[in-house]
């Protein structure tokens, strides 16, 4: 297909080639195919491949394309749910659902690229998390069983997990369990959200210095624990 009008070509392609059902190309192929077309539409700096992919996916999701929604979900949900499970293990799935509903409802008004989308996603999640905690105070608290505290003190959570056997959630749980709340949240957000210190500061409503301090202390403590407790190298 020869395209002389860049935007028309891209838009037309969304309406035709991208609705072929199971025979549609992968997201990567789609973005590669239309990458040149879309890149011409940028007057300033040309976006990278990830940015192009995100633009394609976001535009298609706004248009109601299911494949685009699937792509967003599969790309961002695993890290979101790991973060939420590290914060509220028993309510993480509910909070994640509320978060995605908020994303869907705000999709038409969202403006930005992948980093802004991640920030937006996690800010919605943190807001839902805070709402859950605020309402959960009024309800019965769910006590943590003694075995968890015992395991934390003895370091079994690390010792019993060989590197090849632990999952992503368990790795996040190690960070959560051995650091205080602020340190763990800073490091987990930086790891799972791909955020910079400044972005984490915006997200948590703190200063960048506060974030860097907690980040430093958390990394230092994790390094010491691993050196003392693991005995095997991760």
């Amino acid at each position: 297909m020869t395209c002389h009008r860049v935007h028309l070509c891209a838009v037309t392609s969304f309406g035709t080639d991208f609705t072929l059902g199971e025979k549609t190309p992968t997201v990567h192929e789609k973005t590669r195919r239309y990458g040149e077309v879309l890149s011409e539409s940028f007057s300033g700096n040309s976006p990278g491949e990830d940015d192009l992919e995100f633009i394609v996916v976001l535009t298609a999701a706004r248009a109601g394309r299911e494949w685009a929604a699937t792509h967003l979900y599969r790309q961002y949900h695993p890290r979101l749910i790991r973060y939420l499970r590290s914060q509220e293990p028993r309510a993480a799935d509910d909070i994640a659902s509320e978060t995605w509903i908020g994303v869907i409802r705000g999709l038409q008004s969202f403006h930005g690229e992948a980093p802004q989308f991640r920030t937006w996603l996690f800010s919605i999640a943190r807001r839902q998390l805070a709402e859950f905690r605020r309402t959960a105070i009024k309800k019965h608290a769910t006590p943590t069983d003694n075995e968890t505290f015992t395991a934390m003190e003895s370091g079994e959570l690390i010792d019993n997990n060989i590197v090849e056997e632990i999952s992503g959630q368990e790795a996040v749980q190690i960070i959560k369990d051995y650091l205080n709340h602020d340190q763990s949240e800073v490091i987990i957000l930086r790891v799972l959200g791909d955020f910079t210190a400044d972005q984490v500061a915006d997200l948590m409503g703190r200063t960048p210095e506060w974030v860097r301090i907690n980040q430093f202390r958390g990394l230092q403590k994790l390094a010491e624990i691993m050196k003392q407790k693991i005995g095997v190298t991760l």
């Binding site: 799935d93 869907i104 038409q108 790795a171 050196k227 190298t233």
Partner: protein, 360 residues
């Protein structure tokens, strides 16, 4: 009391700022630190690892919510509502709605619709619905400022499906009648009264605001007798005669005679005999084909006296043939006179052209 960051950069930092960034971003699993740095790098790498099936277990639920919510937020509702409205109206409430639309068209508000000066949504709906039933009202899309006057001699053909009974207990039937006149609305009034069926032809002239638009409502006046004869009537029906008939009936029924107007009753008798009726039959006929009740903006024009500038003039010519003929087949031609720009002289005549009589 010390601040929380008093010891920042005081205690030995195992990682530089860049190394910490690389570590947390998962960009390195083997920094210059072969010990804890590498361990942390691998831990972060695992934490950022691929999704497990349990983490994507709710994908189907998410997609169903997505499909629902995204439709709600993106689907334009107005065209669907408009389609539903038109379909609903045309299917179930055509008669009521057409009455409403006719009321709008025949009232002062019709001037706004006809000249396209209603707000666009209202204009569009009126235009769509009215065009659906054959009346041409400009839509906001094709509206041209300062439209030419609608008075024209070029006949248009339009069809409507308006039918109404002249009696309240009659069953409503829907049919199609065709007439030729600019912006024509055709009505057919049928009534069973003493075994007779009547149809009336009426010419209505309507003024839209300043512009005058001849609107012709044609109804065929015909009388069908109990013996099967179907005879056109050649007489002029007007409201004064109808009122005289009522007076005559009052006198006839109660036999008072006190307040009777001999001259008026004589005129009625003359008209009845000219039409081949008895006075009783003539009045019964007039009652059956009662001239359509004028609206507040409609005035009845009694021929041949022309009025100078009526908002609506209604002229009916009925030429009955004597009913004594046992006619079996009657064909009636409706020949509309070309409408001129003169505001008061739009008429159509019902003239029986062929009356074929065959022996029974």
């Amino acid at each position: 009391m010390s601040d929380f960051d008093d010891l920042y950069n005081v205690t030995p930092n195992p990682f530089s700022e860049d190394e910490a960034d690389q570590l947390l971003n998962g960009e390195t699993t083997a920094t210059r630190h072969s010990g804890e740095g590498a361990d942390l790098g691998r831990l972060v790498h695992i934490a950022r690892g691929a999704a497990t099936p349990s983490e994507l277990a709710n994908q189907a639920a998410f997609l169903s919510v997505f499909a629902t919510e995204i439709r709600v937020t993106t689907t334009p509702l107005q065209p669907e509502r408009k389609r539903r409205m038109i379909k609903f109206i045309s299917a179930k409430h055509s008669i009521k709605f057409v009455s409403i639309v006719a009321g709008v068209v025949f009232s002062a508000g019709a001037a706004a619709a006809a000249t396209g000066s209603l707000p666009d949504p209202a204009q569009q709906v009126v235009s769509d619905v009215v065009s659906h039933i054959g009346i041409d009202v400009p839509s906001p899309d094709n509206y041209v400022a300062d439209p030419p006057p609608v008075t024209t001699t070029t006949p248009k053909t339009s069809q409507t499906e308006i039918e109404h009974p002249s009696t309240s207990n009659a069953e409503v039937t829907v049919g199609t009648t065709e007439t030729t006149a600019p912006a024509v609305v055709t009505t057919k009034a049928g009534d069973d009264h003493g075994g007779n069926e009547h149809e009336a032809t009426t010419t209505v002239k309507i003024t839209f605001g300043g512009a005058e638009a001849p609107q012709e409502t044609t109804t065929t006046v015909r009388e069908k007798h109990e013996d099967g004869a179907n005879t056109p009537i050649s007489t002029t029906i007007d409201k004064p005669h109808y009122l005289l008939c009522k007076a005559w009936q009052a006198q006839h029924n109660f036999d008072t005679g006190a307040n009777s107007d001999e001259t008026a009753l004589h005129n009625v008798q003359q008209a009845a005999s000219a039409a081949g009726f008895t006075v009783e039959g003539y009045c019964a006929f007039l009652k059956g084909v009662r001239v359509p009740t004028p609206t507040t903006t409609t005035t009845t024009h009694v021929e041949p006296t022309p009025t100078t500038k009526p908002a609506v003039s209604t002229t009916t010519h009925v030429e009955p043939t004597p009913t004594t003929k046992p006619a079996t087949t009657t064909t009636t031609h409706v020949e509309p006179t070309p409408t001129t720009a003169a505001p008061t002289t739009t008429t159509s005549h019902v003239e029986p052209t062929n009356t074929t009589t065959s022996a029974a």
